[in-house]
């Protein structure tokens, strides 16, 4: 404690202190590391994209403009269609969750949220395992009806994209609309009924108008996710479908046309920015007339026969829809259903761990220079590095934001910007920014984790900030009056409160890094593949063995991510919001 009685405040900000300039300096220092980090590894690459893309030669080229326009339209189109379908499934689902109690409700709720946090490659692999040419459904039908060709052409179709998007995002509608519906005062609907409105008219004139803000918010968020979707389009859409994100990737990696890629990135950024702003403005204006006590009246088990049928139907649909792709994946990875390479004669079908064993072997004509299992090792290593980096940058940022001053108000939006920028764009920016001296970093092993950290940083900050803000100064003051040095104060007061949040933030960073596909696909070096990129490469190659190995790796990734997610959920602080 200072002798003149002012409080200790080692993260800057705070009460009246004689040395105001000291506080200011401390603040600047706190921001120094994260600012430099983001400056070099986010804003600088972004600026290079702007430079490359705003080249008049590119902008004025008719072919480029045409391509850009077509791709943009398709992105809008598939996002709109996906959103519509998601709402069609999600709104009845929201009705289900907000009105009925049934056994296993908690489990089903968690189940619907799992796709959202899984990496896109896993989801794509899962659908592939279920509905692809070598998937369960096709092989089953072929066996049943003795067909030569797989009857269902699911892969590389618009239907596949839409289905995967709905699978991914239904949980958003279920939660946002479900919450709003559950909080809606049931007396409003009762009043309408007594005034002469039949149930359909109650829905139309009272319920839906009151739910509209929530439906709009959920729909917009889903649209945003569908608009920026990358992995799903690439893996399940195939060569014929390209959204902005996918086109950036193609132009960068296949066409080697960086200016066009940059132009597309700029458009992507602008669109995402516009939608994000729109969404945040919408969300602040959502207000539902709530009646917490009365809302409990709303939940009841299914009573009439019609309700029971609806409940049973929806539950089955949701269960099958969410379980099937997730279960298909690991099951398929341990099942051999066709001839092995070189053995055209006999088909030994049955359970096998061959695909997993193959991961450890580097066959002569393999796609990689290394055994595929190395991809797991690399992914885990990168994930560990990501955790270290993002915590190192996230802690000072979060603690400064925990006590916001004028400076923080300006910095905060910039910190959250990586959330809105697409990962593919980031990857492109890195290629542009770090391909020549003095920053020739493209072969630097830390580059991929740096990209991951940039992407994970907003999540880490958002996790740490509430915990850091929750530590009352009085506790610290009390500790130091009792004789504790600043370090001990931190260890005995701050750390216990912050440790849970740190664990959660670390788990977030870890899981994000493991599943990251967009930026990594542009930055990865062939001799150091990550799991997602390895899965992608194996899936796009023909042959049962490649397919099996891809599914095996995807199952491993699903398992490891599952552990990470479980950790996040177990350590979750009450009060951290949904979206």
């Amino acid at each position: 404690m200072d002798r003149d009685g002012t409080s200790i405040d080692y993260f800057g900000g705070g009460a009246d202190s004689a040395s105001g300039k000291n506080i200011f300096m401390r603040r600047i220092l706190t921001w120094l590391a994260p600012s430099i980090f983001l400056g070099i590894f986010f804003f600088y690459p972004l600026s290079r994209i702007l430079g490359r893309g705003l080249d008049p030669a590119v902008l004025l080229d008719g072919g480029t403009l045409r391509l850009t326009w077509d791709v943009f339209l398709f992105t809008l189109y598939q996002a709109a269609l996906s959103t519509l379908l998601t709402l069609v499934i999600g709104i009845p689902g929201a009705y289900l969750f907000s009105h009925f109690t049934f056994p296993g409700k908690g489990w089903l709720r968690t189940l619907t949220a799992i796709p959202f946090i899984l990496p896109t490659v896993v989801v794509a692999a899962g659908f592939n395992a279920l509905l692809g040419p070598r998937g369960w459904v096709n092989l089953g039908l072929m066996g049943l009806f003795k067909l030569d060709q797989p009857p269902i052409a699911f892969l590389y179709s618009l239907g596949a994209i839409l289905l995967a998007h709905v699978f991914y995002n239904t949980t958003i509608v279920l939660r946002i609309v479900g919450n709003a519906w559950g909080q809606l005062d049931p007396r409003l609907e009762q009043a309408a009924r007594v005034l002469g409105a039949n149930p359909a008219r109650v829905l139309r004139t009272v319920t839906l108008p009151l739910l509209r803000p929530a439906i709009l918010a959920a729909g917009l968020l889903v649209f945003l996710f569908d608009f920026t979707s990358f992995g799903v389009i690439l893996l399940l859409g195939g060569p014929h479908f390209a959204t902005l994100e996918v086109e950036i990737y193609i132009q960068s990696m296949q066409m080697l046309n960086l200016p066009v890629a940059s132009l597309l990135s700029i458009i992507q950024l602008l669109c995402t920015l516009a939608f994000s702003i729109f969404y945040s403005r919408l969300v602040t204006h959502v207000s539902i007339p709530t009646a917490p006590r009365a809302a409990e009246e709303r939940l009841h088990p299914a009573r009439t026969a019609r309700q029971r049928v609806f409940l049973a139907g929806m539950l089955s649909l949701l269960f099958i829809f969410f379980v099937a792709p997730l279960a298909a994946l690991p099951l398929r990875s341990v099942t051999r259903l066709e001839a092995a390479r070189g053995q055209r004669t006999s088909v030994q079908s049955g359970l096998t761990l061959d695909y997993y064993k193959e991961l450890f072997i580097n066959r002569r004509d393999s796609l990689f220079y290394v055994p595929p299992i190395d991809a797991l090792r690399n992914s885990l290593t990168y994930a560990g590095m990501t955790v270290v980096l993002s915590l190192a940058m996230g802690f000072p940022a979060a603690s400064a934001l925990a006590k916001p001053g004028k400076l923080e108000k300006y910095i905060d939006p910039f910190l959250m910007l990586p959330l809105g920028a697409s990962a593919v764009t980031l990857g492109l920016g890195y290629i542009l920014a770090f391909n020549k001296p003095p920053l020739a970093l493209l072969t630097w092993p830390w580059l991929v984790p740096l990209a991951h950290s940039t992407i994970a940083l907003p999540f880490v900050i958002r996790n740490l900030q509430p915990a850091l803000a929750a530590i009352p100064d009085k506790l610290r003051e009390a500790a130091s009056t009792l004789g504790a040095t600043p370090l001990r104060v931190w260890w005995t007061v701050d750390w216990p409160i912050v440790s849970r949040a740190t664990l959660s933030a670390a788990a977030f960073a870890f899981t994000i890094s493991l599943g990251e596909f967009g930026a990594t696909s542009l930055l990865v070096r062939p001799e150091y593949p990550t799991l997602p990129t390895a899965i992608y490469r194996f899936l796009s190659q023909p042959g049962g063995l490649n397919y099996g190995q891809a599914l095996a790796m995807a199952s491993i990734l699903m398992l490891v991510c599952g552990v990470g997610i479980g950790l996040i959920e177990a350590v979750r602080l009450p009060g951290t919001g949904e979206f």
Partner: protein
């Protein structure tokens, strides 16, 4: 004319309403009085058609309407927290019932204005309901219920959320509206002052049954049970044991009561001693006790003795002072 016959309803596994029967005739306002959680609101919702009774029926003019859905019963319901539609303004709220019944737009406009006049909200047509004060919101809720000219009006503790003076004012307005329109009404409340002010008949609901169905004056004069007397705060309710010859042993002493002759020796009886029946000084049923508490109430002092007996005096005694009081024999009432 509404007739409720033998309604049974459970809540959370236990029986809440255990056979409720009563009638409401044309032009009558009846008050359903009971403590919180006694099932008054549930009964109202059953009558409105928002919930189904487990057995029993609801009849209107002799016809069983138990199976009729809520939106076809043409009853009006005013909720405690108004339940105004927040996305509609005042006029749209009031017009809602008329729209649902397919009334022509011209008539809707006319009847909406008329309804707002009745509740003294002329000029509020375009206001947002969320901007209104509690009293104004309650009036809009009333106008909304009145506009479709329902054949029965129901009120579910409508004045509960308002302050005292507003409550009294609205109570007056409500009474005149009900009197002028002549619509039969069921008014549910736990406040006996409201019930006494409004009702043609009071129905006391206790433990799932109607234990008293009479005019306010009758209920006041003869509450009918210890619970009723306590619930309505009529006075000191004492449990007693009859000693014979009109004498009853109670916690404050042995009292002589005119009505105790009806009971046999050693029988239990509840006695009611209204506070206005207790006088200072020596006389019948002489009692003495120490003052425990003195509160100033309007123009008198409410004195409570250490044995919990309370009464009113025009002059305040000291706390701890020994007082001698008397209770006339006829004023010691026996409750069932």
């Amino acid at each position: 004319m509404l007739e409720v016959i033998d309604i049974y309803k459970s809540y959370a596994g236990a029986l809440l309403l255990k056979g409720i029967s009563f009638r409401v005739d044309a032009g009558e306002t009846i008050c359903l009085l009971g403590s919180s959680g006694s099932g008054k609101s549930t009964l109202l919702r059953i009558i409105a058609g928002l919930e189904q009774a487990e057995s029993g029926s609801v009849c209107w003019d002799g016809q069983d309407i138990s199976a009729t859905p809520a939106h076809l019963r043409n009853f009006g319901l005013v909720f405690q927290d108004y339940a105004l539609f927040p996305h509609l303004n005042v006029t749209e709220n009031v017009a809602y019932g008329l729209k649902m019944r397919g009334v022509s737009p011209d008539e809707i406009a006319a009847r909406t204005i008329e309804a707002l006049e009745v509740v003294n909200l002329h000029g509020f047509e375009r206001r947002r309901v969320t901007d209104l004060s509690g009293g104004e919101q309650q009036r809009v809720a009333l106008a909304r219920a009145l506009a479709p000219r329902p054949r029965l009006l129901m009120f579910d503790e409508p004045l509960g959320a308002l302050d005292r003076s507003l409550r009294e004012q609205l109570l007056d307005e409500l009474r005149s509206i009900l009197h002028n329109t002549g619509i039969p009404a069921i008014y549910v409340t736990h406040d006996q002052e409201e019930a006494f002010a409004l009702a043609d008949r009071i129905l006391l609901l206790h433990e799932g049954l109607i234990v008293r169905n009479a005019t306010p004056a009758e209920v006041y004069a003869r509450p009918g049970s210890a619970w009723a007397a306590e619930f309505m705060g009529l006075g000191n309710v004492l449990a007693g044991r009859v000693l014979g010859q009109g004498r009853v042993e109670t916690s404050v002493g042995v009292l002589h009561s005119d009505c105790a002759h009806r009971y046999g020796r050693d029988e239990s009886v509840s006695l009611l001693i209204r506070p206005e029946a207790v006088f200072a000084g020596d006389g019948d049923n002489r009692l003495s006790g120490r003052v425990a508490d003195v509160i100033f109430v309007q123009q008198k002092f409410k004195v409570t003795l250490e044995n919990d007996l309370y009464f009113y005096l025009s002059e305040a005694p000291e706390v701890g002072q020994e007082l001698v009081i008397q209770i006339p024999f006829a004023a010691v009432e026996c409750l069932a």
